[in-house]
Symmetry: C2
Subunit: 142 residues, 2 copies
């Protein structure tokens, strides 16, 4: 019988992820937890993150070098506008979902899911003079 147990680190990870304004890597979230005194094992961070994604409480988007996570309110389908530098993201509404089904049908495809991620720079990072092709902050050294 699956028994769900409530623990301090579980709460810590959930809270930390919820406090983030944008997508964040598991490693960086782990780092942030350490900084805030709440020392949680990296493995646990990964385990919790995966659990959240499985239960639909978080989104994970694969990027070159790993994946980024973010807590998501809308259980519904939605898209993101992501800042390539700081990871800040806002949820945006879908454009023409029907267009997708139409195109898919034309090619005999059965649509299962689709991903639309818009990358760019948020106002802050843009003003800070960050170059569009810089390595994302989330995967930068030190």
């Amino acid at each position: 019988m699956r028994e769900e147990r409530r623990t301090a680190q579980k709460d810590a990870v959930r809270r930390a992820l919820g406090e983030e304004s944008g997508f964040i890597s598991a490693q960086q979230l782990h780092q942030r937890l350490s900084d805030n005194g709440a020392s949680v094992g990296l493995a646990t961070v990964y385990r919790q993150l995966n659990a959240l994604v499985d239960s639909g409480l978080a989104d994970a988007i694969p990027v070159s070098g790993g994946q980024l996570f973010r807590a998501c309110e809308q259980r519904e389908h939605h898209h993101h506008l992501v800042c390539e530098n700081c990871g800040r993201a806002v949820e945006i509404d879908p454009p023409s979902e029907k267009w997708i089904r139409t195109v898919a049908k034309d090619h005999g495809f059965t649509v299962n899911r689709h991903v639309l991620e818009v990358f760019g720079l948020c106002a802050d990072c843009h003003n800070a003079g960050v170059e569009p092709n810089d390595r994302p902050e989330a995967f930068r050294d030190s």
Copy 2:
């Protein structure tokens, strides 16, 4: 002085990728090359694939567990309709690019690039009774 040298394995990788109908992982492409007698080192496959992506002759999309490649004709911006099982993909035209810029501007974002990938099952795989949530063929064992 950068000197571009033509080699057998370079051609082999390019040709093999071109013959693929959809996205394929580096490992799988390497396997396919071996099967066809053209033995090319895995490292070389990666090196060539990256070179192709850099020069814009191929597309790479990050997926959980790695990345998938595909030769692309259109140097222009375009999107894909991808079969989650066999990796087959067709290039589709963008829907409302202007919609994206509008939304981005509303949030103060500077758009750099965007990704739209539609996943589902192609007619063949659908008829074969493949389940939507199966692990992609490209990353399945053996």
